[in-house]
């Protein structure tokens, strides 16, 4: 057990005691209102993650040796519920969800020691560098090259749609080390220092008007061979195999999040006298059902992992289920509110600071990022059902 945990946790703690202890901590140390200024906001978030880590409350699913809590799945559920309820900042960057499982599984001991704790504590923000302008959904076609020169790779190319890249310290990238025709067989997984010479990050404005992602230009960037995860040309397998657990944990987190969001929408509907409309009521019941299904799906996936070691088919569909849900929910909220929903956060009269209309816009990305929903449906059909490959698609 980590020392931080020992100082606070009783030797035998019931689930409800754990929940109460976590809730008390989150309430007591809540970092307060989100600063509007971007620089202040980043510092505020980093402080909070450090507080959390130092108290032993970071990384519910992570091994203890890298600073995590190594909770049982049941406790992870409680953790996510409380974390979401407390409205405290989430982790910065996508390292925890995406890079960490890969590093934990395939990284060397040295890499784990060097990268994991600073990532979990929020000292270093990690961002993904997978997509490229010409390789959106077809990652096999990526063009960014890495040429081995002695003990370094020299990386050249362009990445795009990278959330958090504007504040990132570290980029985890897929790069081509094989021939241009090698497709998924010539891809390598590299960890790139975002401050290294030759790295340029250009923030992109998204359709909400905010900056949520960036383009990354890589020009003769030198990356030590020791920062390669796994073998050369084996990056594609690495990037894919770590998705099962991430998905399960992510699904549970999203279920807890949307439980809260739906409750807030129902409260808003009641407050405005809209819930008494039978059509609205039926729609709200439909969302209630879907949010409950999300949770049941996640619970079942987690139980299935515990029992059989594999997440099972419900897990493959969780992302599609959630992304469709969040689009539908926000649009329904807007439609229910009518014209009033058209006021954005810039207008003092906006409903709940424009959250619903902003959600309507921002969730457009849900079915695009990390593989469009079309690609996901292909994958489900082929991997879960074994339907044949499209003959006009590269294998």
């Amino acid at each position: 057990m980590s020392t931080a945990m020992d100082t606070q946790a009783p030797v035998v703690e019931t689930d409800e005691e754990f929940r109460a202890r976590l809730r008390a901590f989150l309430t007591e140390h809540h970092p307060g209102k989100r600063p509007r200024d971007a620089v202040e906001r980043l510092a505020w978030q980093k402080r909070w993650r450090a507080t959390l880590f130092d108290a032993g409350f970071a990384g519910p699913s992570w091994p203890r040796e890298y600073g995590g809590m190594d909770l049982s799945f049941r406790r992870q559920v409680i953790y996510q519920e409380e974390y979401n309820r407390a409205r405290v900042p989430g982790p910065q960057g996508t390292g925890l969800g995406i890079a960490a499982p890969t590093i934990i599984t395939y990284g060397t001991e040295e890499q784990k020691r060097r990268w994991l704790r600073p990532m979990l504590r929020g000292d270093k923000v990690w961002a993904q560098g997978y997509s490229e302008p010409e390789a959106g959904s077809d990652l096999h076609a990526l063009r960014t090259t890495a040429r081995l020169e002695g003990d370094h790779y020299v990386v050249n190319g362009q990445k795009v749609w990278n959330t958090y890249a504007d504040i990132a310290d570290v980029l985890f990238c897929l790069v081509r080390t094989g021939t241009p025709e090698s497709r998924q067989h010539g891809i390598t997984y590299l960890i790139v220092d975002a401050r290294a010479p030759g790295v340029t990050v250009r923030p992109l404005r998204d359709l909400t008007g905010a900056v949520h992602f960036s383009e990354i230009f890589l020009e003769n960037v030198r990356v030590p061979v020791t920062d390669r995860v796994g073998e050369e040309n084996d990056g594609w397998r690495l990037a894919r195999t770590s998705l099962g657990h991430e998905r399960a944990a992510g699904a549970m987190n999203q279920a807890a999040l949307y439980r809260r969001v739906l409750d807030e929408l129902i409260a808003l509907a009641e407050e405005r006298g809209l819930a008494a409309d039978a059509v609205v009521r039926d729609r709200l019941a439909q969302f209630e059902i879907r949010v409950r299904l999300m949770r049941s799906n996640a619970m079942r996936t987690i139980d299935t992992i515990r029992t059989h070691g594999e997440p099972g088919p419900a897990s493959s569909t969780s992302r599609l289920f959630i992304t469709t849900f969040e689009q539908d929910l926000h649009e329904f909220a807007v439609d229910m509110l009518g014209a009033d929903a058209l006021l954005t956060r810039e207008d003092p009269g906006a409903v709940q600071r424009g959250r619903w209309i902003n959600g309507f816009l921002s969730t457009r990305a849900s079915t695009i990022g990390a593989g469009t929903s079309e690609i996901q449906r292909n994958t489900i059909a082929e991997q879960v059902l074994g339907l044949p490959h499209d003959p006009a698609m590269p294998s």
Binding site: I266, A269, E270, A275, A276, D277, A278, V280, R281, D282, L284, A285, Q286, E288, I289, R292, L293, S296, N297, M299, R300, D303, T304, R306, T307, H308, P313, A314, S316, T317, L320, F321, E374, Q376, R377, N378, I380, A381, E382, V384, L385, G386, L387, P388, H389, D390, P391
Partner: protein, 372 residues
């Protein structure tokens, strides 16, 4: 209690499936559905004698095997997948389980052993013309000595040895056991689903024994019925999807398997998504149902409403797409797709429509007040 399926449960599933494959394929079902009985008594006897299925989820003290809703659901899922016409849902999952749940030990001791060993069957008579699967505003009444009223869509009600009947009394909804006699008129209905017999039953001052139970238990029995039906719906949907996916792999059009077309793939992917959620919903409800005193009845009711709204719609959706994907062949009488569709559409509506389940969920959660 877990939502994952244990190895023992998988073994149960395999046993049931083996029996059905050997003795009760859909070809057998087609033959049997034209007979007067409407099911195959020899298959029912095998289910009872060889696998003890009727006993599976009944209490040991009344001749049962003492397993829970998890095991009951596995049996229902397999029977659903095979479109079985055997009276398992009616006699065991609905009638016998309701009697066991009632808390009336005398009634349980008197009737359950005969149901548990499969020598007798019971039917559960709830719906009335215009009132589906509800206790509210029942027009069937018990006046202290006899039952009078009309029940309809009683599954396997025409030939059941016992009838378990819900009826209004001066003290609210009550439960009664009837052994059909001359005062009971049973008429076979002409229904959509040819694999499941249903009857209209008229009682006219019919002698009936009151089961000593509370309205809240009765209400819960209906919820458990919906959860049982959801297990069957998952089975129907899974079998029908499997059938369709197999077809899509082998049927070629335009020189390639139709399953390689995105339109078919994406349809099937959406069906998997819906079906996996249906399975999660049903298993979640099962965990609550098997939770005993730890389970808040309101949670169980909400879980039942989720099943009632979602699982039936999913089974219907799968069956409709199965016909679409099969094309002309799927539209013929000879192909099984329509039998799945008919079973799916029937169970979707017989136990309260999806819209009614959503309204109940909204009521349970207090959404929109009592508004309608």
């Amino acid at each position: 209690m877990t939502l994952a399926v244990s190895d023992e449960q998988e073994e149960l599933r395999r046993s049931v499936r083996r029996l059905l494959t050997d003795r009760a394929s859909t070809a057998d079902v087609r033959r049997v559905m034209e007979t007067d009985e409407g099911h195959d008594p020899s298959v029912w006897a095998l289910m009872a004698d060889q696998l003890g299925l009727p006993a599976i989820a009944l209490p040991e003290e009344y001749g049962g095997l003492g397993f829970g809703v998890a095991e009951l659901s596995i049996v229902l899922e397999e029977l659903g997948g095979a479109l079985s016409p055997e009276p398992f849902l009616s006699s065991i999952a609905l009638a016998a389980r309701t009697l066991a749940l009632s808390g009336d030990t005398e009634a349980a001791a008197r009737w359950l052993p005969g149901l548990a060993d499969g020598t007798r069957t019971a039917a559960f008579a709830v719906s009335e013309p215009g009132r589906d699967w509800t206790l509210e505003q029942s027009t069937t009444r018990f006046d202290g000595t006899g039952l009078t009223g009309v029940k309809t869509f009683v599954i396997d009600g025409e030939r059941a040895d016992l009838l378990l009947v819900t009826a209004a009394t001066d003290e609210g909804p009550g439960l009664f056991v009837v052994e059909p006699d001359a005062t009971v008129e049973r008429t076979r209905l002409g229904v959509l689903d040819p694999t499941r017999r249903q009857a209209r039953i008229t009682f006219d001052a019919t002698p009936a024994l009151r089961v000593d139970t509370a309205p809240s238990r009765l209400r819960q029995a209906l919820d458990l019925g919906v959860i049982a039906v959801a297990a069957e719906q998952v089975g129907v949907a899974q079998a029908c999807l499997d059938l369709t996916v197999e077809y899509a792999k082998v049927r070629t059009q335009f020189g390639r398997p139709i399953g390689s077309f995105q339109a078919i793939k994406h349809k099937c992917a959406d069906l998997v998504l819906e079906l996996e959620a249906a399975r999660s919903a049903q298993q979640h409800a099962t965990v609550l149902a098997d939770g005993g005193a730890d389970t808040d009845p309101a949670d169980l009711a909400a879980a039942a409403a989720v099943c009632g709204s979602w699982c039936g719609e999913v089974a219907v959706h799968v069956a409709k797409e199965a016909i679409q994907i099969h094309g002309g062949v799927g539209y013929t009488w000879e192909h099984d797709a329509h039998l799945y569709l008919k079973r799916a559409k029937s169970t979707e509506l017989l136990f309260g429509t999806p819209a009614a389940h959503r309204a109940r969920l909204a009521d349970l959660l207090g959404i929109g007040g009592g508004a309608r």
